[in-house]
Each structure stands twice: as C-alpha cells, then as structure tokens.
Amino acid sequence: MILDYVGVKEINGSLIVLDDVEGASFEEMVDIRLDNGTIRHGRIVQIEGKRVVVQVFEGTKSISLDNTRTRLKARPMELALSPEILGRVFSGAGDPIDGFGAVYPEKRANINGTPMNPVSRIYPRNYINTGISTIDTLMTLIRGQKLPIFSGSGMKHNELAVQIVRQAKISDTEDNNFCVVFAAMGVKNDVADYFRRSFDESGVLSRVVMFLNLANDPIIERTLTPRCALTAAEYLAFELNMHVLVIMTDMTSYAEALREFSSSKGEIPGRKGFPGYLYSDLASLYERAGMVKGSTGSVTQIPILTMPNDDITHPVPDLTGYITEGQIVLDRQLEGQGLYPPVSVLPSLSRLMKDGIGEGYTRSDHQPLANQLFAAYARVQDARSLASVIGEEELSPTDKKYMQFGKLFEQYFVNQGYTENRTVEQSIDLGWKLLSTLPRTELDRVDDALLDEHYIDDPELISFDVFRSAADQKEDED
C-alpha cells in the first residue's frame, strides 16, 4: 500500500514536519510532490511516534502547509553504481546532470556506507610519487591515506590539487587502474570549471567522476555530496579494484552547511556554533579512505579546506587535523613572495610517511634527510626572528648560514613551479645539496656514514642551476 501524506505540519528552514505518519523508518527517503508538479526529495532525520521531521534537499521554498503530497520510499538514500559512472557528472545528491541520462545500476549502495573493520584494513605502505619536492620528501603521500590541504581563500590550493592529480597519474602510466573522484561542495562555478578544464587538459577526464554542489546549490544537498562521492569511490576501489584519488573541496563549506542544518533542527551548538557531532561527522567521511583485504584497490583522499581567516585552530581545520593522517599547510607569506607551491613545511606532516619510504620504497637516506631538513628549517625561523630584532648583520656566523640556507631552501626546494615534475631521487639529492650549505657539525640528526656519503664539502660543487627553469637562467645572464 502506498500512502501519500497531504500537507505538512510545520516548516522550519530546510526541515518540514509531518504528522500521523505510519511506518516511517529512520533515515528513509521521501518524495515530496508539490501542487505544481515538481518533485523534491527528502530524508527523515527524526521520528517521535507518528511525527516525523524531514530534511528537504532542494530547500523548502514555495512549500506551504497544504500544497504537498509526501510519499515514503521505504529505503534509505542510495546511489546507483556501475562502471559507467567514470567520466560522468552528477549533482551533489548523486543525480546525473550531464545530460546523458540515468546510470543503469549494477548495484545500489547506501551513501552512509558501513564502517570498515579495523582488522580488515591493510596498513598503507605504498607511496604516491607526486613529483613535488616538498610533498615527496617531507610529507610523502601514501596510497590509502587521507592528507588534506589546509589553505586560505585566494591561495593556490586548487592548482596544487590539479598538479598532484596530473603528476601522480604520469608516474602510473602503465597502470590503467587510476581514477579520480571529485566532489565540489559550495565552490564557485569558476573553480568547478577550472578543475574540469584541467582534468581535460591532462587527459584524465574520462577517468573522473564529478559530484558538483556549487556555491548557489541547496545546502542540504551539500551535506550529501561527500557521502555520494565516497560511496562511488569505495565502489570503484573495493569492487573494481581501482586506485581512487578523491578530491573534496571545500570542507569548510561542507561544515558550514552542516551547521546551518543543525541550527535549523534546534540542536545545541558546540564551538563557533558548529554541532557537537562535527568530529564524528567529519570522521565518518575521512575514515572512508584506506585499503581493505580482498581488494587491490585503494581510496586516497585529498580534502581541501580554506581556513577562515587563515586560522588553523578554527574548528574545521582543527578537527580535520585530528582525523586525517597529516596535513599540507599552505602559507600566505610564501605565496606573497611568489613561491609556488606555497607549502609551509614546518606545520605540514604525513603520519604514514615513515612506513612508506626508505629502503625498498624510496631511498634509505630519505627519513634522516627529512628529519634534518625539518630541524634545520626550524632553526632558520629562530635565526629570522632574532634577525628581525638585532638585524641580520649582528647575527653569529652560524645563524647567518642558516639565514642563507632558509633562502635557498625556499627558493629552490619549496618553489618549484606548476609544471615541473621532479623524481624523488632529484628531490632528495637537492635536499643534500641544500644541507651542504650548512657547516657539517650542525647536522646532528644524521649519522656520520650518511654524511660521508652525501655531504658536499666543496662549496664550489654546490650549484642549484639545474633546478631552475631556462627562463630564470637567461634572466640572470641578461
């Protein structure tokens, strides 16, 4: 028996309340037919006896107390999945919007997913070569990891994400198993377009699934977007055995949508008005990265979030950092100096790096080099703050060396350009060259055997020109 419920009892923000509903189940989907014939979709978010609260994805605009007929669909929110989803574009709620019609589903999956059994996880160990010195050497991305980019409005996080996709793909040319799931949440039209164009240019568009909820799309849909995307990613990875890179941008917009929804439900707010369950909610997304036994695929996540006011202690970056396995932090000052990618090395981190590098993966001297670079660059900050007080001239000779090291490090190691693709070997060698500009006694994180092998005693032999673009060199000559 299919029942339509006529009218609603109450409307509040994106929520409607129905009375006298029989047999509703929690998180069940509903269709809401308006008198003018349009259909909206919704989901039951709270039940009290026969009174149910429904979240309307498309918003409650023009719904009145008696112009609707609501029908229960007797199933939770599901996404239609088949190998054909590659290359398709969907709305934030998982409906095709590219004009190629509905997906003929091989299976349907609940978008909430089910938690991965910790026992069934495979500990991620294979690194992804992104071709970016800072990332490969100091915060190596591992297959199955979730490594967010913490950025700010107006910085070059999108370019960085695209460069990672483009270069990670190149290192995998023989491996046909690579694909990208792209989830846009509350991003500007231009940004979505930039990603689409860039994917097209780098020839991966046919291997990209896009879920777009743009800045002017309804916010309830935005809370579904990452879930749809991750359901698709899990299907591609764990059933079709593909290596999936999931890019989710912008997590701050997602969290704000969640806050808007939570406050319209009348929930008790936590920090900065975000709901108390923001951590659990973000975790239910981020934890869907990984690898499981019985499948050769992997889900790697690169969520992008813009830190409001560049504040890393804001709830969204803060909670994200507690869930994800590290972070890549971008820095406005570096960006201001025209360096790209403006990766702020010290607060950036990859937690899975230690087991995915070194002998058998990258190079045996990778970890000690990374430790030493971090330590030396941390020392540079001390020298700089001292120099800002007493002036660079007054610094001790060692501190002066550090000042110089800092400059070279940023100029050649951090600053690499949008098109340059460096091998791990090149990046590590460059790291040793940079360290060789410091006195050997300062390098206390590396043992002597490694220093014997890699430390360049003769300053004449240290040259960075090979890493500079031809244009720069020409400029120097002129």
Partner: protein, 585 residues
C-alpha cells in the same frame, strides 16, 4: 509491564520508548528486529531513553525492544589477550569472518571463543573454603600470560565438587561451591562484570614503584608510578599516538590494554601489524602475547565509543585481580568526552562549558580513580596504570577536557607544537610538564640507582630552567653578548635537549633506554659541564672548548654507545678529561 515494549522516537543514536516500566537504568537492551545493542540511559514516567551502539538507519517506531535485565556487561575469561574488540567487546576478527571487511549491524558473536579448549589446572580440592577473588584454577592463555580463574567477587563458599585437570571449554563447569545459604554455584572458565562498576580489591597500596618506560624524558624527568595516572595532551601532529605506541611497546607492565577510542582506523591496523612483528625483549615473544586491543575508530558508532573506555578498564582490572601489572592506554579521552557531549546534546541536557555536559569532571574523575596499585582479594599485588591522551581543541590547553584531566591525573606530559615542528621527539615540553610522583618514587630510585640519579636529574632540570630564562635574553640581543659561563649553560642545555631529551623511536638502541644508561648519559653531560666551568673560570674562552667537538659527541652518544656496552661511558669520560686537560696544559 506491557506485553511488548516498542520504539516511539528516534534521533540519531538515541531511541525513546513511551510508557514502559520494564527497564532499569544502565540495563543492556536489544533494539529492533536486527537486535542492535543498546543501553538505557534515562527513565522518567513518560519516556525511557536508550542509547544505541550501532547505526540506527532503518529503525521504525513500533519495532520491538528486548530487555536483558542486566547492566552492560563484559565477558571475562581466557582468550581476551591477543584479541581485538570493538567498544562493547565484540571480537572484530570474528565479525570479519561473519560480515566481511565492513561491519554490518546487529552482528551477534560471542565476545570470546566458546569452542576453544583450554588446558586447565585445578588449584583447589573438595572441602576448601573459597571467598570472592580467590583463584581456583589456571591455564596458559598465551606463551607469557597465565590466566588465573577467580571466584566472582560477589560469591563465597565451600568447594563441593572438582573436575580433574584437563581440557575444558569456556562454559564448562570445573568447580562447584556451596554458599552459606546452601545454594550451589557452578564455576566455569568465565564470568561477567558490569563495565561501569570498578572491581573490588582488598586495599590500595602506595604508588612507590615506577613504571619504567625506557623513554628518557618520562623516566628521568617526569616519572610515573605503577598504578598511577598520566595525561598526554597535545594538538594534532605532536605525537600523542606515537608516545602511546612507544609506551605500549616498552613499558614494564605485564599486560597492555590499548584502547583506540575514536581514532584513526589506519592507526589500529598499524598497531596490529607492528605488535605482531615486534618481539618483546623480556619474553622473546611477539608483543601481541601481552596486548589487548580495543578499537572503536572514529567512524564507528559514537555510543560504543563512550563505552569503549570502560570496557578496556574492566578488562584491565580483571587481569590486575589475577596479580598482574596492567597499563591501559586510552587514545584519546577527548574523543570519549566528545561522545559524552554528543549524546548529552541528543538528550537535550543543559550544557556546561563549550557544550560539554556538566558531569564531564565527575566522569573523568571516576575514570582515572580506577587506576591504582592494590592488594587483590586473593592477597597478591596488581596494578592498573592509566595513560590517557588528550586532544585539546585548537591545541589550547585551557579547554575543559584538558583542564579537568589535569585535576585528576598526577603526571602531565604536555606535548608542544613548536618542538614537534622542529621534529624534536618525544615533543614533551620540559617547562609545562610535571609529575607529582617524585616524592613517592625517590626512595625507589635511591635504592636502585643510587643518590646520584636524583642529584643528576635535579641538576639537569635546573640547567634547563636556567637556559629557558637565558633564552629570553638571547631572543632580544643574540647569544654573542652573554658571558662565557652563561654560554656554557646554553651549550650544555643544548646537549641535554639534543642528546638526552630527544629520543629516536626508530633507532634500535635508542627506542628503549635502560635506566642505568639514562643515568650515565646525564653523568657524562654534567661531567663535561662541571669540568668546563672550571676551565672558563680560568679565563679560557668557551670557543676553545666548543672547538673540541665534545658537545657533538654528547649529542650522538645515544647512538654511539649501545645499551649493552655501558662501560664505553668510562672511555667517553676519559676522553673528555684528556681533551680538556690539553686546554689547561
């Protein structure tokens, strides 16, 4: 009582039942046709509130709720060690066999393997009088842990029947006792205990034996006692989990209970991987032979996360009662507090600070007070040490969870972001951290390592504080203008920081350092300091000393001198003497 209790309302993990009198507070219930596990958390004359430990999607008003008449229990018996459970003691390996790589709901599996045979040795005979907590049998549980079967604390009586030694399954009766009222009780290989209730003990013992961790900054600077409590607060990326792992691997407890509470799934699989490969140096067996894992990752249901801490603690107490020293690592208690907050919010309770419920401090104190070194009911000695990680929001230690934890723990290992950024690990800030155990533990250190150990430690602490004050000046005017004796303090403090406090968890010799070596390292550093002080007093510039490269040698002695060749310290000290003698000659 109504014929059948049914669901009335659903809001996330909170389910309400209307007009029922059949449940009691904290009773465990099964919800819905798929029998999801839940617990009664609120009762008034109209509504009874249930928190459900699994996803509630698809539940309907009118679905049945079944009571069990018992509070939330765990099953205690052999098979706990070397196992991995979720927050309500469901074995994850068995769930994997049942439902594959993703956890389906309502998975009903016994906590412990009911069909496995254990090689039981009976320790009592007919006619023996037994009281609660006494041991009536034992069996080897793993290669290093002997499982001792204890009379449940609430029972006592005379043994009327005893089975012979041999192989038994978990639910087999091996001993029967008759209590004072003449009632007979079957004793099997297992018992149950409610997770929110501390197990009884005979008396509390003073906390005067250190828990040796092999981590220099912890053992020497901020020691913790067996049966003590410690908090490790730190923002993300400061190494909370890394420290917890190091402690779990190296501390000298007999058994480790590791509770991954609302943390990352990959971290749990790392623990699983690493601990099964890592060999315990004391027993020569894999670490897993003495470890229990409780994994409630952040994407698993939030209510079970709240329970996971108590489940872990109850398991720890059970082994403590057998006479073992148990250490429990809770990573992270902030996630647990957030679970409290989340459920409190669903119950529409009045929030206190930052949305946390007003009962947060009392829950935290209840939790940490279950630690302690005790005399068990059977007269042996055991302890539970609690080491809780705290993840302060925005790395701000003034937030409620950190502040309240600080009040109830006696050891505070504050992790510091700037140290972590400089890759100084463990990133325990020596200025902000503290331990209240010094007075309790100093006699032990004095007896086992001599008066020198305490003297060295105090001197090192003093030098670090002096350096910190000097750095204020250096930040303003640079180090060049300082007089030589102060420069020496700075050089020495640097050697302490780099050579002593910094410890490399990935280096085979440095990952665990015995106390004796810790003492000799301090001795070497202070020896150089004292000698140099005299030389500087003789108006020889400090640059002459630093040129000798002695401070660099101190920084690398942790690698250069293996743990089993401590006599090499004598050579080091001799070298220091000869090098310095050349200056004054």
């Amino acid at each position: 009582m109504t014929d059948k209790d049914v669901i009335f309302g659903i809001n996330g993990p909170v389910v309400t039942v209307k007009n029922t009198r059949s449940f009691s507070m904290m009773e465990m219930v099964y919800v819905g046709e798929s029998r999801l596990v839940g617990e009664i958390i609120g009762i008034n004359d109209e509504f009874t509130t249930v928190q459900v430990y699994e996803e509630t999607t698809g539940l309907k008003p009118g679905d049945p709720i079944y009571g069990t008449g018992e509070p939330m229990n765990v099953l205690l018996g052999p098979g706990i060690i070397d196992n991995i459970f979720d927050g309500i003691e469901r074995p994850l390996k068995a769930i994997e066999e049942l439902s594959g790589s993703f956890i389906s709901r309502g998975a009903s599996v016994s906590s412990l393997d009911l069909n496995r045979y254990w090689n039981v040795k009976i320790k009592v005979k007919v006619g023996d009088k037994l009281s609660g907590g006494q041991i009536y049998a034992s069996c080897p549980e793993t290669a290093v842990i002997e499982h001792r079967f204890m009379v449940p604390p609430t029972l006592s009586g005379t043994v009327t029947r005893v089975e012979p030694n041999g192989k038994y399954k978990l639910k087999d009766t091996i001993v029967v006792i008759k209590d004072e009222k003449g009632e007979e009780h079957d004793l099997t290989l297992c018992q149950q205990w409610p997770i929110r209730q501390a197990r009884p003990n005979a008396e509390r013992l003073p906390a005067d034996i250190p828990l040796i961790t092999g981590q220099r900054v912890m053992d020497t600077m901020f020691p913790i006692a067996k049966g003590g409590t410690a908090a490790i607060p730190g923002g993300f990326g400061t190494g909370k989990t890394m420290n917890q792992h190091q402690l779990a691997k190296w501390c000298d407890a007999d058994i480790i209970v590791y509770v991954g509470c609302g943390e990352r799934g990959n971290e749990m699989s790392q623990v699983l991987d690493e601990f099964s490969e890592l060999i315990d140096p004391k027993s020569g067996r894999p670490m897993t032979d003495r470890t229990v894992l409780i994994a409630n990752t952040s994407n698993m249901p939030v209510a079970a996360r709240e329970a996971s801490i108590y489940t872990g603690l109850t398991l720890a107490e059970y082994y403590r009662d057998m006479g073992y020293h148990v250490a429990i690592m809770a990573d992270s208690t902030s996630r647990w507090a957030e679970a409290l907050r989340e459920i409190s919010g669903r119950l529409e309770e009045m929030p206190a600070e930052e949305g946390f419920p007003a009962y947060l401090p009392s829950r935290l104190s209840e939790f940490y007070e279950r630690a302690g070194r005790i005399k068990t009911l059977s007269g042996s000695e055991g302890s539970v040490t609690i080491i809780g990680a705290v993840s302060p929001q925005g790395s701000d230690f003034s937030e409620p969870v950190t502040q309240n934890t600080k009040r109830f723990t006696r050891c505070f290992w504050a992790l510091d972001k700037s140290l972590a950024y400089a890759r100084h690990y463990p990133a325990i800030n020596w200025m902000d951290s503290y331990s209240e155990y010094f007075t309790d533990l100093d006699p032990w250190f004095r007896n086992n390592l001599g008066e020198d150990f305490i003297k060295y430690r105090n001197k090192i602490t003093a030098l670090l504080h002096e350096e910190s004050a000097l750095m204020e000046i250096v930040k303003l005017i640079g180090s060049d203008v300082l007089p030589d004796d102060q420069k020496l303090v700075i050089e020495t403090a640097k050697a302490i920081r780099v050579g002593f406090l910094q410890q490399n968890a990935f280096h085979p010799d440095d990952t665990f350092v015995p106390l004796e070596k810790q003492k000799l390292m301090m001795k070497a550093i202070l020896h150089l300091y004292n000698k140099s002080k005299h030389i500087i007093a003789a108006a020889i510039p400090i640059s002459r000393i630093t040129e000798l490269g002695l401070f660099e040698r101190l920084a690398k002695m942790k690698y250069d001198i293996p743990n089993n060749k401590l006599e090499m310290f004598d050579d080091l000290i001799k070298d220091i003497d000869t090098s310095l003698a050349a200056l004054t000659a």
